[in-house]
């Protein structure tokens, strides 16, 4: 193996039923480098990590590790650990009720007895050595998240790891904690540990990484030195668009401009999941939130609907101050929300199509005023017809419908309440092209009739077709707002990338 290289993965392929998650991917990690693994959701990052750590067996390919002759075979996370590949996951995988020292040593020895003194002495040495602000006999739950993360790293490092995988380590840390973590990462790097850093945060990548490997749709896009890859180009690589192509892309479709008064306005709205932001939408306007996955677009609309714990901010609907802290508040103020996760937050799988349709209206009316059966039947018929929902009957349980038709049922549920402001979070995900177009057309038609709509989609083309205003988010902040002729794919990407260019 070439000098200075600690890990080489060659031609890694992995398929799941119906999906080729990784296709002949190569990856190389050098000694003492921080190597960012980037890609959008579904690009194959986590599959690659899981292959490397033995969670998934690979279909094809070879893994070489410094100090081992020939390819190594890894069948379980324990195997990976024993040859020096350690992973620290984004959710802390330590036990909160044990002490820091115990968390560092439990499960590592085959001793039948626990040597507390020994553990505490060694833990103190390691913590001291790495400058981690924790005491060995402190209960782990008494440490901040960042320190817990660092304890996990200390455990990995003490197990003599050569390759340290940090899988989204920063997503639940605040800025100061991130800085602490980066300090530790640089320290480990100087000790010769190779670090694979998986994250959604572009700025953090540029702050600590030496190299970037980009994956897209299970394919290797390339390996770049950080200084050779400007941020905007990284975004383009991740999305699979070259900048020159983008400049030539034209917008399709007509837009509905904003007209008239403000339907919904939020000032410094914040929730447990998102930072404070300002937002307003006018009657008959279609706007969109865009940004990479993890940028906070879904969290923002969930805050608007009161789906997460709202922690602050002023909200006006139709110019009147209102208080929205739970979905019911939003619903009686004429706001509808089609959630991103249809299976979890949308459908009630065992209820019939009819019952799923009338659900929101029933909630708004209150349980003391049940919708009569005849009325429910009429509503169901009306929307099955209007949205062309393909179902055996209105009594069919919704779970036996296709994804697209389930989505239409949820859409019908909200349309039935005649909201003045409808939020659609990824309404077209996982549904076929025909239905996608229908939904897009419907969005434009509804806006024409005066409904205000927020439309979120991972596909930028789709958003450009439907939205007249795009709010761009990065790292959970609104970083730009695009309207009119700025609504081009190139401009969206530049805004997402931000910083380095312009």
């Amino acid at each position: 193996m070439e000098d200075g290289i600690v890990l080489t993965m060659r031609g890694i392929s992995k398929s799941f039923p119906g999906v080729r998650a990784l296709n002949e991917v190569d990856f190389t990690l050098r000694k003492g480098e921080i190597h960012a693994l980037m890609g959008e959701n579904g690009a194959g990052k986590s599959t690659l990590i899981k292959v490397l750590t033995g969670v998934y067996p690979m279909d094809e390919g070879e893994i070489y590790l410094d100090g081992h002759d020939g390819a190594v075979s890894i069948h379980s996370p324990q195997d990976a650990q024993s040859i020096g590949i350690s992973t620290v996951y984004q959710e802390i995988t330590l036990c909160p009720n044990l002490t820091v020292a115990e968390n560092m040593f439990i499960g590592r020895t085959s001793d039948k007895l626990v040597h507390w003194k020994e553990y505490e002495r060694r833990a103190a040495e390691i913590l001291d050595n790495l400058g981690i602000p924790a005491r060995p006999n402190q209960e782990l739950s008494r440490c901040s998240l960042a320190v817990q993360q660092m304890v996990a790293i200390a455990r990995a490092v003490d197990m003599k790891c050569k390759v340290l995988i940090l899988d989204e380590p920063t997503s639940s840390l605040d800025d100061k904690e991130v800085a602490m973590l980066f300090g530790l990462m640089r320290d480990l790097k100087s000790r010769g540990v190779g670090i694979i850093f998986v994250t959604h945060f572009l700025e953090q990548v540029y702050e600590v990484s030496d190299r970037i490997t980009v994956l897209r749709n299970g394919q290797l896009v390339g390996e770049f030195k950080v200084e050779d890859l400007p941020q905007v180009q990284l975004v383009a690589e991740m999305m699979g668009k070259s900048l020159d192509d983008l400049a030539e892309l034209e917008q399709i479709g007509q837009k509905t401009g904003s007209s008239g008064e403000c339907v919904y306005e939020a000032e410094q709205l914040s929730s447990s999941e998102c930072r404070p932001f300002d937002f307003q939408i006018h009657r008959g306007e279609v706007n969109g939130f865009t940004g990479l996955l993890g940028s906070g677009r879904s969290e923002s609309v969930r805050a608007i609907f009161g789906a997460d714990h709202v922690t602050g901010g002023k909200v006006q609907v139709d110019g009147k101050d209102v208080h929205i802290s739970k979905p019911h508040d939003a619903m009686i103020n004429g706001i509808g929300y089609l959630p991103e996760d249809r299976k979890r937050d949308g459908i009630i799988a065992d209820l019939s199509v009819r019952d799923n349709i009338i659900l929101a209206l029933q909630v708004i009316q209150g349980m003391n005023h049940p919708i009569s059966k005849a009325k429910a039947e009429a509503f169901a018929d009306e929307y099955i017809e209007a949205l062309q929902i393909k179902t055996a009957s209105k009594e069919t349980p919704i779970k036996s419908l296709s994804g697209g038709n389930q989505q239409k049922v949820i859409l019908a549920r909200w349309l039935l309440t005649h909201p003045q402001y409808l939020i659609l979070d990824e309404p077209t995900r996982g549904i076929d092209v025909g239905t996608k177009l229908e939904i897009q057309k419907l969005v434009l038609k509804l806006a024409d009739e005066g409904m205000s709509i927020t439309f979120i989609s991972s596909e930028i083309e789709e958003m450009l077709r439907t939205c007249s205003r795009l709010i761009v988010m990065r790292d959970r902040k609104i970083v730009g707002e695009l309207t009119g002729e700025n609504l081009t794919e190139a401009q969206v990407m530049k805004t997402i990338a931000g910083g380095t260019q312009q």
Partner: protein, 374 residues
């Protein structure tokens, strides 16, 4: 060495862990109750024998409280312990009456092995189902409870009195401590008496404490109760540890049955009826959380003693009636749970405050972390 000093200095001011906090609460409450009883009720409570009587009468309860604690720390439950005691007592009583073994010592040993064997069988069976087939422990042990009660009745519908003379003589053996005794009205010194069962119970508590504190198995159980997924990622053999926790729990239930038989040598379909509920109450009062990861058998010992003391106090007070005992136990349990959650909440709130003071700035909370299987 320099780092050695660094370890020792903070050791003194380390805040209590949840397990320790809850343990101290229950020890404190026990002392307050007991001293209160001495001052207010006087009488029997002034004599050390009262304390030993509480131990003698509740030895089996203390042992099954340990049996519950070990599974509850691992976030499980075992409600078959009362049933196993009932079955063990009945089986042992019948065995003693029918045995042809001449030697008394051998007969007693065989009875003990029978008791432990029954407990072990239940423990292994339930451990396999819970650990390796991932069946809810509540359901598994509920089935175990019904099974044990049913088997007890099959063995004998009528109460069976153990009449084996050797065994009865053995069961009556008591450790006598004269300096803790008292002088009766007729001038005779009556020494304090401790039954063998009580000694076994205290030994069980000590052994279980050491196992949970100093063995790999014990720490694994705490880790599993704290966060099962993490425990797995940390390289702990979760299934095996959970399995052993049920085996130990079953074994202790069998032991408790034997101790029970020594205290009251008669089998009966209703023996230790509700025993599992008392044991759960004792564990919880002793600071074991039903959610797992927090608890201590020493706490459970004091939990059982608190329950026993309440019942004794009520028995000696004008309110002597079983429903008053039940209500007092219930009230105590409710009081404890509220007290525990208040204490833990305040402790955690104080901690959060401290953290926030050191790390202000916008909290970058957990967002979209769903990585598809890609």
């Amino acid at each position: 060495m320099n780092s050695n000093e660094k370890v020792r200095t903070p050791r003194l001011r380390e805040p209590l862990t949840d397990t320790q906090t809850l343990l101290f609460i229950s020890i404190g409450i026990f002392l307050v109750m007991y001293i209160g009883a001495i001052l207010l009720l006087g009488g029997g409570f002034t004599k050390p024998q009262m304390f030993f009587d509480l131990l003698n009468d509740n030895a089996a309860l203390i042992i099954i409280a340990c049996a519950l604690t070990v599974v509850m720390i691992g976030a499980g439950i075992n409600i078959s312990v009362g049933g196993v005691i009932g079955l063990t007592v009945m089986a042992c009583a019948i065995f003693l009456n029918k045995t042809q073994v001449e030697s008394t010592g051998l007969a007693i040993c065989m009875t003990l092995l029978l008791a432990l064997g029954i407990g072990l069988a239940f423990g292994i069976w339930q451990g396999l189902l819970v650990a390796y087939l991932d069946i809810q422990p509540f359901i598994v042990t509920l089935a175990g409870m019904f099974l044990a009660r049913g088997l007890t009745t099959i063995l004998s519908v009528n109460p069976v009195k153990a009449t084996h003379e050797g065994f009865l003589a053995f069961a009556k053996l008591k450790v006598k401590i004269s300096w803790l005794g008292y002088v009766a009205q007729n001038g005779n010194l009556i020494p304090a008496k401790i039954e063998i069962g009580a000694i076994v119970a205290v030994a069980t508590v000590i052994v279980m404490f050491l196992i949970l504190r100093y063995t790999r198995f014990g720490r694994s159980i705490y880790a599993i109760g704290g966060n099962r997924q993490s425990a797995l990622m940390l390289g702990i053999n979760v299934r095996r540890s959970v399995f052993w926790s049920y085996v130990i729990s079953g074994l202790l239930s069998g032991l408790a049955g034997f101790v029970f038989l020594m205290h009251k040598p008669a089998g009966n379909a209703n023996v230790a009826m509700r025993g599992e509920m008392d044991a759960i109450a004792a564990s919880i009062i002793g600071g074991t959380l039903l959610t797992g990861g927090v608890g201590n058998v020493i706490g459970s010992f004091f939990g059982a003693m608190i329950l026993a003391t309440i019942q004794k106090i009520i028995a000696l007070s004008p309110l002597n009636a079983s429903w008053w005992q039940d209500m007092a136990s219930g009230a105590m349990l409710a009081f404890f749970i509220v007290l525990q959650s208040v204490v833990l909440m305040r402790k955690n709130a104080a901690f959060k405050k401290k953290v926030q003071q050191t790390e202000d700035g916008p909290k970058n909370n957990n967002t979209e972390v769903k990585e598809g299987t890609s």
